[in-house]
């Protein structure tokens, strides 16, 4: 009898314990989403009322504090650094998955290098860009130096997502293509890459997100200069949106501060759009498999 009540007591205690754990788990889930919502609201509520046409598309001067040229500079950096890093990254992934033999020493070294690149903090990229591209190669503080630095930075993102995507292509496809007499190269370009495209694209989107939010690596390389009107001149020093926000936040005028929030709101909106696109792509990949 006593044994049984003890058992019940024990069971009750365990149940209570489990319930507390469950509550804690839910709380952490809620907390995470709550923090996100809080940050988003904090920036958007104070930023969106300050966005106007002049700020978005006007000429920069001390009144409008327009972000137009920064937006164009950001796009410029995204497009060109992707144009440089995407082929290199995808080719590297192709080498790792399709060409390298198993247990190849070179593969080990390359993997190690990619992992290392992924772990290097942006401030170290900034220092390297400042020493190498700005200094030794003589690109000066310019968009070009920024592009070079950022291209290296996004390389690991593109390589690892491409590699995952290419690995996920069923071997059946390859065998079919090879069996029909296609060469290895043709198989890669006509069969493997198109199938892996959504995965590669999601890597591209991640890379875009990283560039948009980047500041520490660009502040020493592409600089803090702001132009009145956008230019495609790569040798000019220009600031990106994130640096625009940082600079506006640094100058002690109330108007600048409002506009820093406005810039933050634009950043959030871009990041949000980029993430939505990535999620859509991911769910598409999921459905196809």
């Amino acid at each position: 009898m006593t044994e049984r009540t003890q058992d019940e007591k024990y069971l009750k205690k365990r149940k209570a314990h489990s319930f507390a754990l469950k509550a804690l788990i839910w709380l952490c889930g809620i907390l995470t989403v709550g923090i996100l919502v809080y940050i988003l609201l904090f920036i958007l509520v104070r930023g969106i009322p300050n966005i106007n046409m002049k700020f978005l598309f006007g000429q920069y001067d001390s009144e409008t504090l327009s972000a137009f040229s920064s937006i164009i500079a950001t796009i410029e950096i995204i497009v060109i650094s992707l144009a440089a890093a995407l082929p290199i990254g995808v080719f590297c992934a192709i080498y790792l998955t399709e060409y390298a033999r198993r247990g190849n020493k070179a593969v080990k070294v390359i993997r190690l290098a990619v992992d290392t690149l992924a772990g290097i903090p942006s401030i170290v990229y900034g220092l390297f860009g400042m020493i190498f591209f700005v200094g030794i190669l003589g690109f000066r503080t310019s968009v070009l130096s920024g592009i070079c630095t950022v291209s290296i930075m996004i390389l690991p993102v593109i390589i690892s997502s491409s590699e995952e995507a290419i690995k996920a292509v069923p071997d059946m496809y390859r065998e079919g293509s090879l069996g029909l007499g296609a060469t290895r190269l043709r198989t890669v370009f006509k069969i493997v890459l198109p199938t892996a495209m959504p995965g590669i694209l999601s890597g591209v989107i991640l890379a875009i997100g990283r560039i948009v939010g980047e500041s520490a690596a660009l502040i020493f390389t592409s600089g803090t200069n702001v132009l009145k009107a956008p230019t495609l001149d790569l040798t000019a020093s220009q600031r990106t949106l994130a640096i625009h926000m940082y600079m506006l936040a640094g100058e002690g005028l109330p108007h600048h501060r409002d506009m820093a929030f406005a810039t933050g709101a634009i950043l959030i909106i871009i990041v949000f759009a980029v993430n939505m696109a990535a999620t859509k792509l991911a769910s598409k990949i999921g459905r196809e498999q």
């Binding site: 590297c92 990619v114 190269l185």
Partner: protein, 299 residues
């Protein structure tokens, strides 16, 4: 005639194959060359400065006064600062992140998952500057009012970094929890354990190496974060005996970013030296990570 044409095209195709194979290989080598270049140029600029200051005097000296005459370049305070802030971020971020990962993997209903999972991804995409702004306007006053001090402190920096490492911890822990074979959980449940007991006694321990990986990656992110920390940590160089949870602090990264703009000569080189020390930290973390990877793949 026809035959020679075929061998000719075959020859061409072969050539093309070989050329592209070389192109692939060279592309693959780019990242290796990048790592070598980064190491080389950082060391080339940083090591002479460290040598001139003296290694012991640089790394184990807590006095940082580049504008003083004679100047002193000791970064011990910042090394310790980086460690404290990172430790704080781990203490705050890992439990919440791990529990959230458990939530996502085991407890979250499907239609809720479609909200929470993108939310976690979005958290990863928010630029550091926005975290910094948020920290300065919300976290710092919160710390000041709730815990005292002036708010710009190790605690504030830890909270912000704790939030920033959440997505890393959550997504990697989640996928490793999901990778645990369901037979483990079924066995435990069949023996009469509750779901919560099963998760914490069986599933999470089985996902141990994935969780550990996520923590190391989180440490990497926290150690290297710059722009968010510079806005909340207060950037004071504190002597070791005065470092406290509610006092301001300077980290390795913020030392570089606040002073680089005006540094010249030995001062600039010493900041690059600070970068070298930071780089060494990251290499150590990466080595730990690859050891962990090779160990778990062997199992």
């Amino acid at each position: 005639m026809v035959r020679s044409k075929i061998t000719n095209t075959e020859h061409k195709i072969n050539l093309y194959e070989n050329v592209m194979q070389i192109v692939f290989f060279i592309s693959a080598l780019v990242s290796v060359m990048a790592v070598i270049a980064i190491c080389l140029f950082l060391l080339l600029r940083g090591i002479p400065a460290i040598a001139e200051i003296g290694f012991m005097n640089f790394v184990f000296n807590e006095k940082w006064g580049p504008a003083n005459v004679p100047a002193s370049y000791g970064i011990l305070s910042m090394i310790v600062g980086s460690m404290y802030v990172t430790a704080g971020a781990i203490v705050i971020g890992v439990p919440i992140g791990l529990l959230c990962a458990v939530f996502l993997a085991e407890f979250c209903p499907d239609n809720l998952y479609r909200i929470v999972k993108p939310a976690v991804n979005l958290l990863a995409g928010i630029p550091s500057i926005i975290y910094g702004f948020f920290g300065m306007e919300i976290v710092v006053p919160f710390v000041r009012e709730s815990f005292g001090g002036n708010g710009f402190s190790i605690l504030s920096a830890s909270i912000i970094l704790g939030i920033m490492i959440l997505p890393t911890v959550i997504s990697i822990s989640e996928s490793s929890i999901r990778a645990v074979p369901s037979s483990y959980a079924e066995g435990s449940l069949g023996l009469g354990a509750t779901k919560e007991e099963t998760v914490f006694r069986v599933v999470v321990p089985a996902a141990k190496s994935g969780v550990l990986t996520s923590i190391i990656l989180g440490i990497g992110r926290a150690v290297g974060e710059t722009m968010a920390v510079v806005m909340v940590a207060g950037n004071s160089v504190m002597p070791l005996n005065k470092i406290a949870l509610l006092k301001p602090i300077r980290t390795l990264t913020t030392n570089i970013v606040t002073e680089m703009s005006y540094a010249s000569g030995l001062h600039e080189a010493s900041l690059i030296g600070t970068g070298v020390v930071l780089f060494v930290f990251i290499i150590i973390l990466n080595t730990a990570l690859s050891l962990l990877k090779s160990k778990s793949s062997r199992n």
